[in-house]
Amino acid sequence: MREAFDYIEMKIPAMPEYVGVIRLTLSGIASRMGFTYDLIDDLKIAVSEAITNAVQHAYKKDEGGEVVVGFGLYQDRLEVMVADSGKSFDINKARDEIGPYNENSQIEFLREGGLGLYLIESLMDEVKIHQNEGVTVFMTKYLEGEQVERNVETIST
């Protein structure tokens, strides 16, 4: 038997003013499921980063478009899917440009962007990225949230 879950989907114009609208919805869903305040905040950042990537990409090329956000509510976890509308970007290039800063970084070489994917991977328990014509990010957060704490510790050392 398939695992039971509720599904909620929203579609927004690929514009920065709507990222906050998704955050409000996400807060509602996550608190309904019983996530703690800290975990809700992790979710808000990770999901916002994914939408911001989609929006900024659409914006750069002046193509407009839409972003679809789906929420899968399971007994023990929340799955969030963020899909852009078919405008592809180079995920491998994006991956090369992510990662934390380190204290030896020369100030003039500090990047002003590119932290989005890194934050998604740090704050969520599982992340999958599919790239066909567009990019779809699948992110999972478990209700206990023990996994992410371990991840963050590994990264900060």
């Binding site: 920065p16 003013e17 990222v19 906050g20 609208v21 955050r23 409000l24 800290d38 905040d41 808000k44 950042i45 916002s48 980063e49 939408i51 911001t52 929006v55 900024q56 934390p100 800063y101 380190n102 204290e103 970084s105 100030i107 003039e108 500090l110 990047r111 002003e112 962007g113 932290l115 989005g116 890194y118 934050l119 740090s122 704050l123 963050v152 990264i155 900060s156």
Partner: protein
């Protein structure tokens, strides 16, 4: 889902108080209001984040940009009033080690 920005200039110091959320929509507004001050020589910019309830990488990007500009003009950037959540964001990304991040609000303005 909005940001309000209040600025007070005292000699070569700029005190900025931000209230609201810093995300893809509001980060450009923060950048636009603060960057002109960072371009002058020797400015000490003190940004109070006590009432910032949400921030993500778009906000971090703005502060990295300001930090770089101020340093290149012999200025300084001081961030104050960070909540534990904001502190964590700076720590995860490694920025806390690079930039001057205080958690106390500076008194006696």
């Amino acid at each position: 889902m909005n940001i309000s920005i209040s600025l007070t200039e005292i000699g070569s110091e700029l005190h900025a108080k931000l209230t609201g959320e810093i995300d893809a929509y509001t980060a450009p507004q923060v950048k636009e209001s603060l960057h002109p001050y960072a371009e002058k020589a020797g400015v000490k910019m003190i940004v109070d984040l006590t009432d910032v309830s949400y921030m993500d990488s778009t906000g971090l990007g703005v502060f990295v940009g300001l930090f770089k500009k101020l340093k290149s003009e012999n200025g300084n950037l001081i961030l104050t009033g960070l909540s534990d959540r904001l502190k964590r964001l700076f720590e995860i990304t490694g920025l806390a080690d690079v930039m001057n991040v205080n958690t106390e609000v500076e008194g006696g303005v």
